[in-house]
Amino acid sequence: MSNSIHDNPSGGILLYGAGNNNQPAPSLTAATFNPATGQATITGSLQAVANTAFLVQFFSNPAGTSQGATYLGSLSVTTDGSGNATFSFTPPSSVAAGLNITATATDPNGNTSQFSAPATVNTATVDVTSDLSVTFGGFVYNRTTRQFTQTLTIANISGSAISGPIELVFLNLKNATLVNQSGTYQGSPYITILSSGSLGVGQSVSITVVFNDPTLAAIRYTFEFLAGPIPTQD
């Protein structure tokens, strides 16, 4: 059942009476896009006949829809003695954040469930510090603003493109405050170095960081890079 099914006002697949043995649909827990790998992971569970192998098929749909617009792939799931099974599926092709994921389950006799309730693909926030290198410029004092500027050049040294947003988090910042910060993350200021698009393999981006250091003491910090959205409550 890898057809494209979409825009049906009644829901795409409807089972009436005992049609298709009332095969239960899977339940999707989450659909998460990893900006460091460019891949999504779909997790969920199936409650159906015990000790039976089912074919679970996955579909993506434009935001606001939840049938089976684009087939993503499938995997075989076997229920335990209680009829429970959990699964985790990584589609072979990239799945963008914001799409709705649905799934069906098909028993060995070819009875297919309705589409599951949709799970919207959210972008995870992951630590990509080891995927990026930084070349530091020196601190230069702007005599007019009386603030220090520093240029940082950040390069992708990993083997895959990293999707934005990408943030540089300043940890343990000493003797200064970050003037051009984009926000704070777990109490530390950060700057968004790439708001959209992606940083390809070997590509680099330069940013200017501005510090307020009224005592002129040595500015110190460590850092980490995150890819993915920073929660607004932080």
Partner: protein, 236 residues
């Protein structure tokens, strides 16, 4: 006899050592020139030269041979020094950041037709992944001659000292450079934003070779001298 045959090769080895010595030279030198002929006409004085060395890697920067051009001169007034800065525009100015993260020199000057000086810097690079020292220059206008440049007030009280805008939109310097060792230390220079104060920064030769370079030079000269004296004369 075998030694005599090998002497040219030993000399060649010495030359290679010289080349390595040059790449590991101890410092770099530049000549800095600014056309200051329109400074007094286009901006409000008093004016001051402001130099800063920022960092903690133990570098030393020395400025000397100041020339202010026709009708220009150092002063009036003395220099204001912060951190590891010393000297004055009449003789030479020196910075060392071994003990101070922030070193600043500022002193009033009277602009003439052109400002030139010699700049010499050691080349201690930061540890791997670290922050390089940075040296920079700005020209201050509305200079407060009694107390010198005010670092604390942000913004300064009117008409407080401020730097003449340049095309360095981030920091407003006329030049600055990160000290990243012999190979990667280059000066970035910027004219005034309005284009009326131009600047050139020209590298000159290294003035203080590494000790290994001096040894290599002496060794090479000695070997070549011995070889020339002892080699058999060719027949006419």
């Amino acid at each position: 006899m075998n030694l005599l045959r090998r002497i040219p090769w030993i000399g060649l080895l010495g030359l290679v050592l010289i080349l390595f010595g040059q790449s590991a030279r101890a410092d770099l030198s530049w000549t800095v020139s600014l056309d200051t002929s329109r400074l007094a006409a286009d901006y409000t004085g008093p004016f001051a030269l402001d130099f800063e060395l920022v960092g903690s890697n133990g570098n030393t920067v020395t400025l000397s041979n100041f020339s202010f051009g026709s009708s220009g001169n150092a002063g009036p007034g003395s220099a204001f020094l912060t951190g590891g800065a010393s000297g004055n525009l009449g003789t030479s100015v020196s910075f060392n950041d071994s003990a101070s993260f922030f070193s600043d020199f500022n002193q009033q000057f009277t602009p003439g037709t052109a400002l030139t000086f010699t700049m010499n810097s050691t080349l201690i690079a930061p540890p791997s992944g670290g922050t390089p020292d940075n040296f920079s220059m700005a020209i201050l206008s509305h200079y407060e001659t009694t107390n010198g440049y005010n670092f604390i007030s942000n913004p300064p009280p009117p008409p407080g000292d401020t730097s003449i805008p340049t095309t360095d939109t981030a920091a407003g310097t006329f030049f600055n450079f990160n000290i990243n060792g012999a190979v990667s230390t280059t000066v970035s220079s910027f004219p005034s934003a309005s284009g009326d104060v131009s600047i050139t920064v020209t590298p000159t030769t290294s003035v203080v070779p590494e000790p290994s370079t001096a040894v290599a030079v002496l060794f090479t000269l000695a070997v070549l001298g011995v070889w020339r004296c002892r080699r058999p004369r060719g027949k006419a």
